[in-house]
C-alpha cells in the first residue's frame, strides 16, 4: 500500500499557531501509523493569505491532499487513521 503523504506548513504563522507540535509526527509518530506515513514540511503553503475567513485558519496540514484547517496533532492523527481505514475498505 502507498504511504500517506502528510504535508505540514511550517511558515511563520502556522508554526506559532501549533505546527511546531504537529512536527512531532516526524520524530515520534504513534506506532500504528509510523511506517504508513511520509511527512513533508513545506516552507509556506500561502494558504494563510488566501483564506476568506476573517482570521487565518492555520496551522494548515494536508493528508493525501485533503486540507485540515486549524490542525492539531490529534486532528491530524485521527485524519490519518480515517484515511488508512478507508483505504483498507477499498
Amino acid at each position: 500500500m502507498d504511504k500517506i503523504t502528510v504535508k505540514i506548513c511550517s511558515g511563520t504563522s502556522c508554526f506559532v499557531m501549533g505546527a511546531a507540535q504537529i512536527q512531532a509526527l516526524e520524530f515520534t509518530p504513534p506506532a500504528d501509523i509510523a511506517d504508513k506515513i511520509d511527512i513533508i514540511e513545506v516552507r509556506c503553503m500561502n494558504l494563510c493569505k488566501d483564506t476568506h475567513a476573517k482570521y487565518n485558519r492555520g496551522p494548515f496540514v494536508t493528508v493525501d491532499n485533503e486540507l485540515i484547517e486549524e490542525a492539531t496533532y490529534e486532528k491530524v492523527v485521527t485524519k490519518i487513521r480515517d484515511v488508512l481505514k478507508n483505504k483498507e475498505c477499498q
Binding site: S13, E26, E41, Y55
Partner: protein, 391 residues
C-alpha cells in the same frame, strides 16, 4: 587591493579569580568617514572595580586623543595627570596598547607598559620597527610607536600582562607563559587553521593562558585583542517578498549575481527565489528545533530559513550570545552573520496579512523593524559594514 581591506576585531577577557569585574578594558571604535579603526587595550592598576575604573578612564581618554590626532606625548602626560593616584602604591598608573589603522593599510601601534604586541604575517612573526619617546615629566614611562602598512591576512595581537605572566609560580612556568610562549601558541593555531577568526583566536589564547595558571584560576585579569586584516567576507541576506510582484525576478536575480555568500530568510521569499531561478529547495531535517522552523537547502544559496521567528531569535542571540549546543536555523544564521564582514540586506516590504492576526503572539514583529534592530546591533557592537535596501 588595499582599499577593500577589512579589519575584524576579536576580544576575549577573563577577570582575576574572585573578582566580579574586569580590571582590563578594551574599547574599539570605527570612524566610517575616515575609514579608520581604533582599538585600545588598557590594564588598570590592581584588579576589580578600582582597576576597572582606571582602565576605562584610560581607554576613553586615549580614544579621544587618538581620534582627534593629538600629539602623543602630550596626550599621555594629560592622561597620567588625570588618573587618580593609588593610595597603596602612590602612583597614578594604567597601561595601554593602541592600534590605529586606516583601511588603506596605514597602521600605527602605540604602546605603554603593556607586553609588546605580536604582529603575524604569512604565518611568521614580524618585527615592526619602533621608536621610543618619554616625557620629561614621567621619565620612567616610555611610549613606543610602531608604524606598518598592513596587508591582507596580517594579524596583530595585543595582550595584557595577565597572558604573559599566566602560570607564574607554577612549577612548569616559573616565570610565566611569556610573550614567546603566547606567540608560539598563536602561530600554531594559525597553522592549524589559516583563516581562524579574530574572536576564535583571542578566545583560544585566553583559555590557554588560564590552563597555565595554578589550579587554573586566573591570577590576574587576562585579556587578548586580535585584529585580523583581511579581504571582506561578503554576505547577502534576502528577507521578505518585494512590495511589487513585478520585482520578483529582479529580486531573485540578486542571489544569482552576488559575489559572496547568500542567505534567504522567509518561506515566501524562498518560494519566490525557487520559482524565479528554477532552483530546487528542500527542508533540511537536521536543523529540527521545537522553537525555530527548520532550515532548507537550496542549490547555490548558503542558508535558507524561515523569516520573523528566526530573525527574532538571531537578534536575541546577537545580544545575549549564541547557543553553542544547538544547530537550528537561527544559530546557523547568527554564525553566518558573525563570520561575515560586509553584509548587504535586501528587505522586501510586503506585509504578510496573516501575521497581523491578533491571535498570534505579539512578539511577531514587522520585518522592517526586526531587520533594523539586527543591523544596528551588527554595526555598533560587531563593527560590521552594513548596507540595507528596501524593495
Amino acid at each position: 587591493m588595499n582599499e577593500s581591506l577589512f579589519i575584524e576585531i576579536g576580544t576575549f577577557q577573563q577577570q582575576k579569580y574572585g573578582e566580579d569585574c574586569f580590571g582590563d578594558t578594551v574599547f574599539s571604535k570605527k570612524i566610517p568617514e575616515e575609514q579608520r579603526i581604533i582599538s585600545i587595550l588598557s590594564d588598570g592598576l590592581g584588579s576589580g572595580v578600582k582597576a576597572n575604573i582606571l582602565s576605562s578612564m584610560t581607554t576613553r581618554m586615549a580614544m579621544k586623543f587618538v581620534e582627534s590626532n593629538m600629539e602623543l606625548l602630550r596626550s599621555s602626560e594629560v592622561m597620567m595627570d588625570a588618573l587618580p593616584i593609588c593610595q597603596v602604591r602612590k602612583i597614578s598608573y594604567a597601561t595601554f596598547s593602541i592600534v590605529d589603522s586606516e583601511l588603506g593599510g596605514k597602521t600605527r601601534i602605540i604602546e605603554m607598559d603593556n607586553p609588546p604586541h605580536m604582529f603575524i604575517r604569512d604565518g611568521k612573526p614580524l618585527t615592526v620597527k619602533c621608536r621610543e619617546l618619554s616625557s620629561p615629566k614621567w621619565k620612567d614611562r616610555t611610549i613606543s610607536i610602531s608604524q606598518v602598512t598592513t596587508q591582507p591576512e596580517d594579524r596583530i595581537i595585543m595582550v595584557s600582562d595577565g597572558v604573559t605572566q599566566a602560570g607564574l609560580g607554577n612549577k612548569l612556568y616559573p616565570l610565566g607563559w611569556g610573550r614567546q610562549g603566547c606567540l608560539d601558541f598563536a602561530l600554531k593555531q594559525i597553522r592549524k587553521n589559516p583563516y581562524i577568526s579574530a574572536s576564535e583566536l583571542a578566545g583560544a589564547i585566553v583559555r590557554e593562558a588560564i590552563e597555565k595558571e595554578v589550579e587554573k584560576k586566573a591570577g590576574d585579569d587576562i585579556s587578548c585583542v586580535v585584529l585580523y586584516f583581511r579581504k571582506p567576507r561578503k554576505l547577502l541576506v534576502l528577507t521578505g517578498p518585494p512590495f511589487d510582484e513585478d520585482k520578483d525576478r529582479e529580486f531573485a536575480e540578486l542571489v544569482s549575481s552576488y559575489d559572496g555568500k547568500t542567505a534567504i530568510c522567509g518561506g515566501t521569499t524562498a518560494n519566490i527565489v525557487e520559482r524565479e531561478l528554477c532552483l530546487k529547495c528542500e527542508i533540511d531535517k537536521t536543523s529540527f528545533d521545537e522553537k525555530i522552523p527548520m532550515a532548507s537547502v537550496m542549490e547555490g544559496v548558503d542558508l535558507v530559513t524561515e523569516g520573523i521567528l528566526t530573525l527574532t531569535e538571531v537578534y536575541r542571540m546577537l545580544k545575549e550570545g549564541i547557543d553553542r549546543n544547538k544547530n537550528n536555523a537561527a544559530v546557523r544564521l547568527t554564525r553566518l552573520l558573525l563570520d561575515s564582514d560586509k553584509i548587504d540586506f535586501v528587505v522586501g516590504t510586503k506585509i504578510n496579512i496573516a501575521h497581523q492576526d491578533p491571535n498570534l503572539p505579539m512578539e511577531l514583529e514587522i520585518r522592517r523593524n526586526i531587520v533594523k534592530k539586527i543591523f544596528r546591533l551588527l554595526q555598533s557592537q560587531y563593527l560590521k559594514e552594513i548596507s540595507v535596501r528596501y524593495m
